[in-house]
Every structure is written in C-alpha cells, then in structure tokens.
C-alpha cells in the first residue's frame, strides 16, 4: 500500500501555515494527526499535491482555562490528550469519556481534536459532546480569522464551512452553566469501532426541574444534528423516567439515519431513542461524569 507523491512542509507558525496554504492552492491539505488523511490517501480517496504539517505549532496543543472564553482546547491536542487532561477532568469529564471511547490507543495518540472536527464525518465522536456543551471554533485563514458555533461548521457528510486554506485552530467551551453532560456511543466492538449511533446531552437542572437541555445525535443524519423536539420538550420538566423516555422518543423522531453496513436505519432510530434516554439519565444523576 503506497502513498501517492506529494511535497511536505512544516511551517513554524500558524500565520506561515496559512500563507503557505494560500500559496499552494487547493491541491494542498493540512496534516495534523494523519489518521484520517493518510488513510484516505492510501485508499485512493484523496491525492493532495502537498501536505502542510502543523506539528511545529506546539501552542495549538494546549488545553487551558481562559477568562471570558471558558475551556480552550487547541486543535492539535490529541484524543489521548483529552482523556488525560486535568483541566477537562475537573470541568468536563464527559469530554474525556467521549475521547476514551474512540478508535484504539495507538490512534488516540496520533489523532487530533481538530482533525476529528474538520473532517466533518457524521460518526465522529467529539462533535456531539462539544456541540452539546455549546463549543465555538476559531478558524484562521490567510486573510483573517472568524469564530462560530461548532454546530454551524457541518454542512453535509464530510462537508464543512471551512474555506480552502482555512485552519481550525481552537475549540472553546464557554461556561454555559450546565450541571451535567454525557456522550454515549454504541459501536459493534469496544475498541476500534465507529459509532453505529451516538447521543450527547448537556443539562441544566435547578430546583428539581430540567431548565435547559441540549440533545445531539451522531450517525443519525448526514451531519451531527441537534434534536429540537427533545430539547423543547425537556424545558422545565421534572427529570423522571416518563419524561426521559418521552425525550428519547422525540429524539428518535428527529433522527434521519440511513441504512449502512454498520447498522440499519431502523436500528439507528432505536439507538437514538435509547441512547438519548440513558445519556440524559446519567447527566442528571452523575453530573459531568
């Protein structure tokens, strides 16, 4: 299995990387962890003429708390950096848990947060929990930068709003006052299996009621989606079994899954219902995990 030929660059700064991508044009791709990109190149799905490696941009690997922005995760943090992060362990163990369910240890040491988001695949494990927690992303290009909600990034299966040459640099999770969150995934094996379906939730409970909830589904539509029906239903409801079961039904109704090798549409709808109910229950009872 041979990789096609390409030129390789490893710029020292983000600005240099953006300038280089602009200069090289649409044939160039960003290389972060490489676990998706090199796979796509080996299987003939992509043949970039140049790779611009981000490996020298060490500051983009940090995970930290920043006044006014909340928890900031650099796009080059590996999936295992998330699992081991003391910052996330203290604030959002639900993100550590989501990362821990991904792929295998070998892949988690290479694959990055930025890659998992920028690839835009509907079965990715990090977008659901990050969207549930209201994450925003910082996109940087040669002509400037912009910040937008993560959920606005995905436009279709493997399609995003990222312009050619634009780099997803950071994810920020503003303090949303959530009292609990959780991502649950169902895969065919515990290791090395993509999600047949997944559900992430974030809840704000107060005075014995669910004041606000976000419900996000993966592998249930061409993009990761929120369930507006489940979210609206949960507002100001008591967190009892009937309410959570009904929320699961509404999430199922909002899902638009397809049949694939990994699971039928009917099975995925079932999973959307069950995983939503269970994720809500865990987030309400156990907080962020």
């Amino acid at each position: 299995m041979v990789l096609p030929d390409f030129d390789y660059y490893a710029p020292a700064t983000l600005a240099e990387a953006c300038a280089l991508l602009a200069e090289l044009g649409p044939g160039a791709r960003v290389l972060a962890g490489g676990t998706d990109l090199l796979h796509q190149m080996k299987t003939g799905k992509r043949a970039p003429t140049a790779l611009v490696s981000l490996k020298r941009l060490a500051p983009l690997r940090e995970i930290r708390c920043e006044a006014g922005r909340g928890v900031v995760i650099g796009a080059l943090a590996t999936q295992n950096d998330l699992v081991d992060s003391p910052v996330l362990g203290a604030r959002y163990p639900s993100i550590c848990g989501a990362a821990h369910q991904m792929a295998s240890l070998q892949i988690r040491h290479l694959g990055t947060v930025g890659g998992n988001l920028a690839n835009g695949v509907p079965s990715a494990d990090l977008p659901p929990i990050l969207i549930a927690l209201g994450a925003r992303v910082r996109l940087v290009g040669a002509t400037g930068e912009r910040s937008l909600p993560l959920e606005a990034v995905f436009t279709g299966a493997a399609e995003t709003v990222l312009a050619p040459g634009e780099i997803l640099a950071e994810v920020a999770i503003p303090d949303g006052g959530w009292t609990g969150s959780r991502y649950l995934k169902f895969g065919l094996r515990r290791s090395g299996a993509l999600a047949v379906a997944g559900a992430a939730v974030a809840v704000r409970c107060e005075g014995g009621l669910i004041r606000e909830a976000r419900v996000v589904l993966s592998s249930c539509a061409p993009t990761v989606i929120r369930s507006p029906a489940a979210e609206a239903y949960l507002r100001d409801k008591p967190p009892n079994d009937e309410v959570l079961a009904e929320a699961g039904l509404r999430a199922e109704a909002d899902s638009r899954p397809r049949d694939s090798l990994r699971g039928s549409a009917e099975y995925r709808r079932h999973l959307a219902r069950v995983l939503t109910r269970r994720a809500l229950s865990r987030a309400i009872e156990e907080g962020h995990g």
Partner: protein, 178 residues
Amino acid sequence: METLTDPQGVKRYLVTVTVNGDRHTAVVKANLTLTNLLRDHLDLTGTKKGCELGDCGSCTVLLDGKPVDSCLVLAVEADGREVTTIEGVAQGGRLDALQESFVNHAAVQCGYCTPGMILSAKALLTRNPHPTEAEIRGAIGGNLCRCTGYVHIVEAVRAVAEGRVAPEDEGPGPWIRR
C-alpha cells in the same frame, strides 16, 4: 528540516530519528511511512506490516514512549523524535520480562502480532505497573491477534504485572520447552 531537490524535481527530506537509542539520519521522500523507514532503510523488520490502515496494530512502535501505528506516521513527521521498536525491548542480550512471559505462557502463536502486543503492553506497564485485567485488555484493544490467542496474551501481561514470570509459577502448561 533540510530539503533536497534532484534534477528531476523530486524533493527529498533529511530526517534524523533516534531509534532504540541510536541516532539515524536518512534522506527520504515525503510519502515514506515510519514503518517503511524502519523496515527498508534501517533493516528493523521486527515491526510488521498488516492492514497498513491503522486497524490491526501489527506496526505498533513507541513514539516518544507512546504506542502509535507506524503505518499512519510519515517518516518526515518522526524527524527529531524517539522511536522504540521490538528490537529495542531486550536489554544487554536479555529478554525483557514481558518477552519472557509471552514465551512462558505460550502467548506467541504465529507471532505476527507479537511485536505490537509487546510494545503496547510495555507502554501500559511503564505508565501503570499494576493494571487490572480490563486495563490490560484496553491497552491491547488496538492490536489484533488473528490466531485469537488473547487469553494467553492477557495472562502473560498480567503475570509480569504481578511479578511472576517464571514458567513454574503459572501458565497454561508445558507446551513450550526451553
């Protein structure tokens, strides 16, 4: 990193990688994987090629101490970093306790997954000397054994974690004569 362009316009890159404690410098094309750098340029063929897509773990090496699938790492990306392959696990001509234990527990069948299994287990025990069985299974979750010899492999790792590696202590039976 120094870049060299030949008369045909093909670019090559000067990479320096420390493998098993030795510094190696090689001139490589950008599309060379770390697996192929190790096997074809450095003749370290203990690192195996299986799926070449990051699914099977037979090409596992330690990159700066962490297990990675070397088929998904470009040689140019490993520039300046430290790699440990299966050839670097035995020290001073003596097998590592994990290697002894794999032999004693008949945890080697066809042997193809063994280098990757040993390196994944080595990384686990370095980080967590006394793992639970679930942690052992999690650590080798990215290493496939197509002989399906997982029970003996897990037992071999557990024996090292519990400080018993001699054949008479435990093990499946006297299948391997030493």
